[in-house]
Symmetry: D2
């Protein structure tokens, strides 16, 4: 498993280059960045060189498509998706992720038909570039009622949705926070096959009743109450070999320097990896 | 378009043979029957002969699969579906239909993922036999709240679901009652392509406020307030050539003899076809 | 059915604007042009205005993707396809076509797997914009042995391929020349459903033994031996309502002025439409 | 990885019960048997009990469908497939396999379209029961020209076909003999993901020039020249955990008793597993 960094949790980064440089300096092996932006600024060769020089690969890109509202909005993203996929593929990245809001203002069943079709189109386009699509279920309780109608938020629902989408290159973005807020167990991870997981997020939760845990109240790995040692051990046990990328969403951006936050992230990873025996 | 009869509305029929015989006698050209049962009782050649002798074809068979509850229940129907499809194909029938309840006790979005996958499997099996799958949206208002969570009941939602299922052989079962209770227009029919319609049901509605129209309060064609002349004219106008099959669901079974009910059905068809100029 | 013009057969056209103008002047209702180019030069509103002013719609765009060689070449076309589809959709065009060479230097079965997957991706992308993909089987005998291994060239093979691709928005580009060189009949057209046809090409063949008819030896409609009256009557009979677009491939470009060639094309259409009773 | 036995190589077995009993006695953990037959003779509970008593699971069932000839023949197998899948699922078996002949008397590209669609239908049906479909590429040179037209026989072609079929539950049946006769390497195995492999066959080859190796000239594991130690180590290395089932095809059935052949098989497995360090 590759230790990964994203911008979420590193404060006021200047740009993706800054993230890449910090990731390299603090022993991370993967970064979640905008592949297309990198190529625009450095060319494909330059971008590859930059990643290589810092000993990192791209863990995942984000899905640059609005699949949650109208067909018109969705269509406007298709060209962008193809361009993003082309760029990601050029830099050796094989995963692209999006998250599922657990509620919606639309009628839930109808929205599911629209979203199924749209994500199937996305999966096909990504598949044309050898890229997989990861879907992140989102567990925090407060979000389940943040819009009019409940949608889906459990791992099983998401696996069933992946079946409904029906493309071979769709899997989970598995986030420790959503694993925790869904009150899932080690056994739930062990019941997965590695190939069902496209990408992993890691972060920690405050010591609150689980139903009060806020989506943007995330802590650095090892600073909270999630059993991240068990989480990592189980993922490793089923043979997952991809990136485990830190994503710290918080109400207010951290004010420490990116440098010190990267150092703190490294300490967190060291702690939980050690506890996991990895 | 073929005039079709189903058992619904003909009272105490003895069996499908009785239906076939009445359909033939009263000038109907299609019947909705159990193809497999016919073959079991007559052999494939005998069943074909029986249909031919009465100048009818099979309009559609019903989908013999429980796709609305558990995976276990669904699986138990797969063999039955393959057998039913084999029988239907042997008798020249190319459509198989099911209806969509407009509400569900399950979580709506999750149920939609399960149902999408299950109906895709059904469509594939049917496709193996050259048979199309028709999905019937169900409009009466009282059913929209008859279970805990709203599901889907409009034509557009159903077309979007058909897109999500993503198989070329899935289309609408288009029922005049649901067209009416959804307050759809002639223009809504004219906006369809003929190939989007797998099967058509015809029946009429009592003169009540549309939101009070009951699913099992259906009338014979021409005895109610639905603009069936416009309905038929529009279907014919877009080039629909399949069966238009009567389906009269009522709270209490009609007590008249099947013979007299078939005669009454014929009169109804004559009236509305004439009004449609067909 | 819409009378359509393409650049093939109009000699030295200046550009698509020239084609649009001639089409309008000579009573054609559809043109096969590059939608993206039009929008780049006129803006979407300007392009729509130009089409409207000349009373034409776009019959079809070409598939701007190399799906016949390597995965790398294919991938390079995906962004272009998304852009082309976006442009076509913006101008109300709903079909995109490509042709199938009847032989290949690659191993035929393996190439079929690659091509199936690639065209499915194309169909999905196009489907995201409400556009259908038309596949043109190519009949002339000399092309069947022009590369090492036979591929496919009959209508039935192409329909079977469309089934294998398995997307609802794929159909035939039906060309009179390939219908003729495959020695198909009126009955073969009548056995199709209109929705199986995405686009139609019309042109005529020299009075030669059919196995000697050359792909680039095409004549203007009505100047050769193909039963174009029967062809058009049958297409109209099954309810086809799309464009019937002239495509005259010839070894040497015609030297007459585009204006006179458009006039000649109109005369050809007038003749065969009249013979068809349309 | 589970040591598996099939009937191929055990001489004149009385029935599947005999195979199960021998497998248990000689330390095998999986058997390739006819699940439906077992249930017909023992009931589902009895069959499960029989397997459990002998400490074996079912490695794979065969695909009981004729997908290589006509649509009619194919259709006749659909019901059988659903029944076979139901039986396999009832006994906990999750894989079903078929082999690909490397040549065909049909036109190769057209046959590929037919076979793609048929195997997609099979995959969907199997998927309804949680079963995967394994496709076995067949390497021996003499078979590549045994029918009129070359079809496919390499691993890469088969992986590309799996992509073309496009269902998530299709993968390889990976047979040591075909790996060898395709002159594939350890690195080729290491480049696979475990989830791309549905089932594995093991057997050995005579010391002949590879192009002279006959499909029905297979030897027991460890008695020939294939690097089975490397084969097994590589499969284990990528995380494959399914059955590795012996399949010895020979021109003449072995005349030794099934008992002694099972003992010989065990010795072969012991030898190559030990050499692999497993």
């Amino acid at each position: 498993m590759l230790r990964g960094l994203s911008g979420a949790g590193l404060g006021k980064l200047e740009n993706d280059e800054h993230l890449i440089e910090l990731a390299g300096r603090y022993g991370f092996q993967a970064v979640d960045v905008d592949a297309k932006g990198l190529i625009e600024r450095h060319g494909a060769d330059g971008a590859r060189e930059l990643l290589k020089k810092n000993n990192v690969v791209i863990g995942s890109i984000g899905l640059p498509v609005e699949w949650r509202s109208t067909d018109e909005a969705f269509r406007q993203g298709i060209v962008k998706l193809a361009q993003a996929a082309e760029a990601a593929a050029a830099l050796g990245c094989t995963s692209c992720c999006t998250y599922i809001l657990p509620a919606t203002d639309l009628k839930a069943a109808h929205f599911m038909t629209l979203a199924t079709r749209r994500l199937r189109i996305c999966a096909q386009i990504l598949g044309g570039y050898g890229i997989r699509l990861g879907l992140e279920f989102v567990g925090p309780h407060h979000l389940r009622t943040a819009w009019k109608n409940p949608f889906i938020w459990t791992m099983q629902e998401t696996l069933d949705w992946i079946d409904a989408i029906g493309e071979p290159n769709v899997g989970l973005l598995f986030d420790a926070y959503h694993w925790y807020t869904n009150e899932l167990t080690i056994a739930d991870i062990e019941a997965l096959r590695a190939d069902q997981i496209v990408h992993v997020h890691i972060n920690d939760a405050a010591d609150l009743p689980v139903q009060d845990v806020l989506d943007n109240g995330r802590l650095y790995p090892g600073e909270g109450v999630i059993d991240l040692a068990g989480f990592l051990r189980a993922l490793n046990g089923i043979g997952y070999k991809g990136a485990v990328t830190q994503e710290i969403l918080s109400a207010a951006a951290p004010t420490d320097s990116p440098e010190s936050l990267a150092e703190r992230s490294k300490a967190g990873f060291d702690k939980v990896y050690k506890a996991a025996g990895l």
